[in-house]
Amino acid sequence: MSTAAGHEHHWEWSWAPTAVVIGTFLLVPLGFSAYFVYEDTMLTILFTGLGTPILLAGIARWVHEGLTQKPLVAGLAATALPIFIVSEIFIFLGLFTAYWTMRLSQGGNWPPEGTPELNLLIPVIMTFFLVGSSITYHVAEMKDEAGDMAGFRKWLIITLILGTIFLGLTVYEYQHLLHIGFGPSANAFSTAFYTITGFHASHVLVGLGSFLAVLIPAFKGRSNHTLTASVGVYWHFVDVVWFFVASQIYFW
């Protein structure tokens, strides 16, 4: 810790965290409340329209600072992310607990009336793409470590495409189910189905966003092994959770 940085006499500051918070605040709590609670289209457009650019600017600035500034102790993010994932595991456990409680209290009456036959081919295909993307990301990581920026970019783009296809299949499935009238409010199964698969899909979305945060600097020839490794750990976690989601929701 005896870095020179610790002894420089100036106060560190950054507007990136503030921007990310304010962007998120406008986008999620206020955007959701404007749309679903107060059903006010103008307010929704205002909040999301303001929130999105502020959020993106904050993330871009944050990634830029992370790539250009030296931390007090290097490489700690790769340790911190697994600790954060402990939290993630418990939030999924909370949702699964709700699902198990509802399901087990119904006895043999499951799935409840009004549940259409789910196309089980879709989750199988989705699993294929997600596991594939975990593998391709691992290849990208190895290219990054070897200093092969062109290969790093190529495998990142492949990963990004595979992840996007996964998300696209979720959207496709949702559209189909909504079309035949099986929305979140249909019954107890739809409640759990949309909440749990939707929550997992939101993680996929964050994963895709973090791929962009790695890919865009990579086009300028910049990368940070700790960031690359951390995004990888997160993505593998999203992959592993999918096995629980698929086995509990589709195949049980």
């Binding site: 810790m1 870095t3 940085a5 610790g6 420089e8 006499h9 100036h10 106060w11 560190e12 500051w13 950054s14 507007w15 990136a16 965290p17 503030t18 990310v20 918070v21 304010i22 605040f25 999620v28 709590p29 959701f32 409340s33 679903f36 609670v37 944050w62 992370g66 931390p71 007090l72 102790v73 700690l76 993010a77 340790t79 911190a80 600790i83 954060f84 402990v86 939290s87 993630e88 595991i89 418990f90 939030i91 909370g94 949702l95 607990t97 709700a98 409680t101 509802m102 209290s105 119904q106 409840p112 929305g183 979140p184 409010s185 019954n187 107890a188 739809s190 409640t191 949309y194 909440t195």
Partner: protein, 533 residues
């Protein structure tokens, strides 16, 4: 370097742990002031039978419910937790372990800003026409059926929860990887241990609350059926998930509060921590281990098989063992110490009384047979105010006085401090003793009016006078901090002659990077090296 040169950006957008700590302090004290005003309104309303403040008898309950909602939610989520794990942890953990900052300064700034927008969102609840009225617990089915807003409550929990989880990750990594060379695990300040344990609890349990309130949001606004028995959902599911976090949250408050008291008591008694290892590995980690196994006692009267009730009674009573270990360490630290009775020490000493009263009144509430009678009465209300609310608040005040010279560079005014303490201490006891008495006699909690129990009016009047006394004491205390911070006597480097790193190795207040020289410690160093002098 002069402080005058620092621009506003270096404050507002700061990533320095000390300035972030001060931001937490200011934010949490502001929440405390607003939530305290709500408490005063509640006591005025109950001071006499019939509507006093709320207007007419038909809508009065709604107004009263919004006060209860904000008082509870803001005190717990925006004052106690951010005050302890935000202010104290941020300012003092890096100083106590000899680090230049936390592991992730930008994530730290992210956390404090999440905390601020969460307070803004909670306060905005008063501006919108459909002010939330669902208590700090948000139980369905009421929270799903009410015409008032529920989303602001849910998102306030989300924002604060995310803030706390990131704080937990940040500080766990900081304590594990950034301790000064030579600092072993048994040389940590007790405050560092208690806060680390609190962060472990936050990390594991907050996500479950986040999941629970998310389901609430979906049930209310997207029409899902998690808590709707008619469609196969379960109302008690929410209560279980909610208390799965919210009981351990009591320890998130209790543990760092105990940690602050240990620092004050050891520093003021000039003594080592008695039974350090039993206190840390038995007390702190014992509480942490048991924290997740007792939540069902909040549901005793909600309906459950007897064998669960008995199991919960045993695990709840077991909590008193690690708590007892820690309190014993406090008394042992005071024993034969050279005690300085200043304001910080008076608050700390009063906490030993408060935790005793709060702890003893917890025993009948843990007993299944007694709790059937006492549940949902003013007795519960008085119990948790003693053991959690007032205890933790007094511990925070103790810590604010103790570290006042460190963060401001000036000494607090002791006369005003002691006067404020005395008034506060008398006031809280006058407020909450009557509630124990009428609670045992059956006064229900959360009622804005009690026409059916006119015999309790006198007790409510006494409680109201107590609340007025507390209001005076709080005003004196907060004004004292303001005036002392601006015009107090200049503080010497180490006014209490403490042996802890934050006093011995850095100036008051510390500059960027904290330590003028890198800290290196020997094997016989501890933050409580008093008996070797």
């Amino acid at each position: 370097m002069s402080a005058a040169q620092s621009s506003w950006k270096e404050w507002v957008f700061t990533t320095d742990h000390k300035r972030i700590g001060v931001m937490y302090l200011v934010g949490s004290l502001a929440a405390f002031a607003v939530a305290g005003t709500m408490a005063l309104l509640i006591r005025i309303e109950q001071s006499q039978l019939g509507p006093n403040l709320v207007g007419d008898a038909f809508t009065g309950g709604d107004t009263y419910n919004t006060w209860l909602y904000f008082h509870g939610a803001a005190m717990i989520l925006a004052f106690l937790i951010p005050g302890l794990t935000g202010y104290f942890a941020n300012y003092f953990i890096p100083l106590m372990i000899g680090a230049n900052d936390v592991a992730f300064p930008r994530i730290n700034a992210f956390s404090v800003w999440l905390f601020f927008v969460a307070i803004v969102l909670a306060l905005a609840g008063f501006v919108i026409p459909d002010t939330p009225d669902i208590m700090w617990t948000g139980y369905p089915p009421y929270s799903v059926m009410t015409s008032a807003n529920t989303s602001f409550y849910v998102f306030t929990v989300h924002l604060l929860g995310f803030s706390s989880i990131l704080g937990a990750v940040n500080f766990l990594v900081t304590v594990v990887y950034m301790r000064a060379p030579g600092m072993g695990w048994n040389q940590l300040n007790v405050f560092v241990w208690t806060t680390v344990a609190a962060f472990v609890i936050q990390l594991i349990f907050i996500p479950v609350l986040a999941a629970a309130v998310t389901m609430l949001l979906f049930d209310k606004y997207l029409g899902t059926h998690f808590f709707d028995p008619a469609a196969g959902g379960d109302v008690l599911l929410y209560q279980n998930l909610f208390w799965f976090y919210s009981h351990p949250a009591v320890y998130v408050i209790f543990l760092p509060a105990m940690g602050v008291l240990f620092e004050v008591i050891a520093g003021m008694a000039k003594n080592r921590i008695f039974n350090y290892k039993a206190c840390v590995y038995g007390g702190v980690w014992g509480i942490t281990l048991l924290a997740g196994e007792v939540w069902v006692h909040h549901l005793y009267v909600a309906g459950m098989p007897d064998w669960i009730r008995v199991g919960q009674m045993v695990s709840t009573l077991l909590i008193s063992v690690p708590v007892g270990l820690m309190v014993m360490s406090m008394w042992g630290t005071l024993y034969r110490g050279a005690i300085t009775y200043n304001t910080a020490m008076l608050y700390a000493g009063s906490c030993l009384f408060l935790v005793l009263i709060g702890g003893l009144t917890g025993i009948p509430l843990a007993m299944t047979s007694m709790t059937v009678h006492l549940s949902e009465t003013a007795f519960v209300h008085a119990h948790f105010h003693y053991v959690m609310a007032i205890f933790a608040t007094f511990a925070i005040f103790s810590g604010v006085y103790y570290w006042f010279p460190k963060i401001s560079g000036r000494m607090p005014n002791e006369k005003m401090g002691k006067l404020g303490f005395l008034i506060n201490f008398v006031g809280v006891n006058v407020t909450f003793w009557p509630l124990f008495i009428i609670g045992i006699q059956g006064m229900p909690r959360r009622y804005w009016d009690y026409q059916m129990f006119p015999q309790f009016e006198g007790y409510h009047q006494i409680a109201f006078y107590g609340a007025v006394i507390v209001a005076v004491g709080m005003a004196i205390t907060i004004l004292n901090w303001l005036f002392s911070a601006i015009g107090g006597e200049k503080a010497p480097e180490n006014p209490w002659n403490s042996a802890s790193l934050e006093w011995t190795h850095c100036p008051s207040p510390p500059g960027p990077g904290n330590f003028p020289k890198d800290v290196e410690l020997t094997a016989d160093w501890t933050p409580y090296n008093y008996d070797k002098r």
